[in-house]
Amino acid sequence: MVPPEWYLLLASGVFCIGLFGILTRSDALYFLMSVELMMNAANVNFVAFSLYYGDLTGQVFALFVIALAAAEVAIGIGIILVLYRNFGDIDVTVPTEMRW
């Protein structure tokens, strides 16, 4: 059996890749994908430790997370659409009318 630390390392790696994407990309779609990556990193943990502890909660919760992530993407795409209509771009650094 794979030691649980490895799963933790994998999940952390994926999470950090997602975070890196968020910090470096200004395209809204990349932003969404990066968030998905971070959520799936959490899912790796859930499923792995569900197996480790012999407890189904983690797996079921991972399913819920997938569904919620999809819903979040749906909302996100909707907002990106109206963003494009109003600002003519999906670059998230463009709308800076409100600040300070």
Partner: protein, 503 residues
């Protein structure tokens, strides 16, 4: 209570809110082309009020109270109805009712207002669910259930660049924060093997080598909570979202959504990560909340002092108030008898804040409805045209500033007092200094409305309509703020009882 009714009926406040939202969708499905703004508003307000009355009835009947058999748990312990959940559900339902009533006038010329009402009610359902959550899984699902409609609500004015920009920023920061939150939950699950609060608490003390994992997880959960409560450094979305969103939505987010964040924080950090056990595992989250509270109230108040627009000032002031309420978590110490007093005071502050802050934002909604400008100068002389509303606004401002004898003074007083009793003099002192700063910018509004002259004589001619429902909501919020003076005794007692059940 629980002996005569099935146990699931303890969830009826949340269910009522959800069913009302669904009913609105059904009605709109059946008659999609009729613009029935009024009936929609009435139905949603009735739903929220029904939920409120059931909640109040439960509180009076003692549902979930220790005297009547203790908290009611459902769904294998994932849901728990107790006094605190009812207390917060009352806040959510009241704010929702105020907001939907006010929205009736705000969206009077909107094409499809039905979506607004159902989204608001779905978000309220999520909040009510948050209040009863007893498992990290439910917490996350309910949190998303609050967040997702909120994103859509902020961006509800699809053709308004401000609204869209606000929605985008809110969504992006929100998505990032919920991912962080989720990862935190997964780490806690990895360390303890459970998501139910009680079981997590049982494991925390005996973590041994995994305490670092759990610690990182807990800090990430703190982050998720801080996002929902708009606390520094997760607050960046708040000024923009509150400023750009339609004002009723700002009211909803800054009052109800913030309270929802706090109910999660209160429950998670007392039941899942109890202080004594956390300290034994070297996870001093009180320190984290102390830092957050200090930074949050300072940043919020100082930034609010230099704003030019009233709505953005209110946004920052709302951040400052999150800092005050965080004292409820930051001023705890293991095993101290004063813990319930300080947390109870924070809850009472959130209730009072729910009314006064909602009222203030709804006043801004009224100003937007009239079409006068957004800055302090644009409010000059407003009291001459709208004396009742301006008096109400003055009540909100003074109460927010914590000026005696308004209700805001009492809640803040009890809060600082509790912090001092628990040995956190520095937090209370910082809070007092910040209150002084806050008086400056709140009184600017009052001065503009009552003492200043309008820039041009015709500046106020825009006020030609009397939005009845908005007026009603604002006045009702003001009356509630005032009525909380004599009613503060029962409120603080209920809050302290709710907090006592947590420790």
């Amino acid at each position: 209570m629980s002996s005569v009714a099935p146990a699931w009926s303890a969830l009826s406040p949340a269910l009522l809110l959800g069913l009302t939202g669904l009913a609105l969708l059904l009605v709109d499905t059946i008659r999609p082309n009729e613009r029935s703004n009024t009936s929609m508003a009435v139905v949603s307000a009735l739903g929220a009020l029904a939920s409120l009355s059931v909640t109040v009835w439960f509180v009076i009947a003692g549902t979930g109270h220790a005297d009547t058999g203790g908290a009611i748990t459902l769904l294998e312990g994932a849901v728990k109805v107790d006094t605190m959940s009812l207390f917060f559900t009352a806040i959510f339902a009241s704010v929702t009712a105020l907001v939907v009533v006010a929205a009736h006038d705000y969206f009077h010329d909107h094409q499809r207002p039905a979506a607004f009402y159902s989204l608001t009610l779905f978000a309220a359902t999520g909040m009510a669910l948050l209040a009863v959550a007893n498992s990290l899984a439910i917490v996350f699902v309910a949190l998303e259930m609050v967040s997702l409609p909120s994103y859509a609500l902020v961006a509800f004015l699809k053709k308004n660049r401000g609204s869209v920009e606000a929605g985008l920023k809110y969504f992006l920061i929100g998505a990032l924060s919920s991912a962080v939150f989720l990862f935190g939950i997964s780490l806690v699950y990895a360390a303890t093997g459970s998501l139910i609060f009680g079981e997590v608490a049982g494991q925390i003390e005996s973590l041994d080598t995994l305490s670092g994992v759990a610690g990182i997880g807990i800090v990430m959960i703190v982050g998720g909570v801080a996002f929902k409560t708009a606390s520094v450094p997760f607050h960046f979305w708040a000024p923009e979202a509150y400023e750009g969103a339609p004002a009723p939505v700002s009211a909803f987010l800054s009052s109800a959504s913030k309270a929802a964040g706090f109910v999660v924080a209160f429950r998670v950090f007392t039941e899942a990560f109890p202080l004594g056990a956390s300290l034994a595992a070297d996870i001093n989250w009180v320190l984290a909340f102390g830092v957050l509270a200090a930074v949050t109230m300072t940043l919020g108040n100082f930034a609010a002092a230099v704003q030019e627009e009233v709505k953005r000032m209110l946004a920052y002031s709302s951040i400052g108030h999150a800092g005050y309420a965080l004292i409820g978590l930051a001023a705890l110490s293991a095993g101290s008898a004063g813990n319930e007093a300080v947390m109870g005071a924070a809850m009472a502050h959130l209730l009072v804040y729910g009314f006064m802050n909602t009222g203030a934002f709804l006043f801004v909604a009224m100003a937007e409805r009239w079409g006068i400008g957004r800055t302090f100068e644009d409010y000059a002389g407003l009291a001459r045209r709208a004396p009742v509303a301006c008096t109400a606004m003055a009540v909100f401002m003074f109460s927010l500033a914590g000026l005696p004898p308004f209700a805001g003074f009492f809640s803040k007083y009890f809060l600082f007092m509790g912090a001092i009793e628990n040995g956190f003099l520095w937090l209370a002192g910082l809070g007092a200094v910040n209150s002084v700063v806050s008086l400056y910018y709140y009184s600017r509004v009052v001065r503009a409305m009552f003492l200043d002259d309008p820039a041009t004589p015709s500046a106020l001619d825009a006020i030609d309509v009397r939005p009845t429902a908005l007026y009603a909501a604002v006045v009702f919020a003001a009356v509630a703020t005032v009525l909380l003076l004599p009613g503060f005794g029962p409120v603080i007692e209920a809050a302290e009882a709710a907090a006592a059940a947590l420790f």
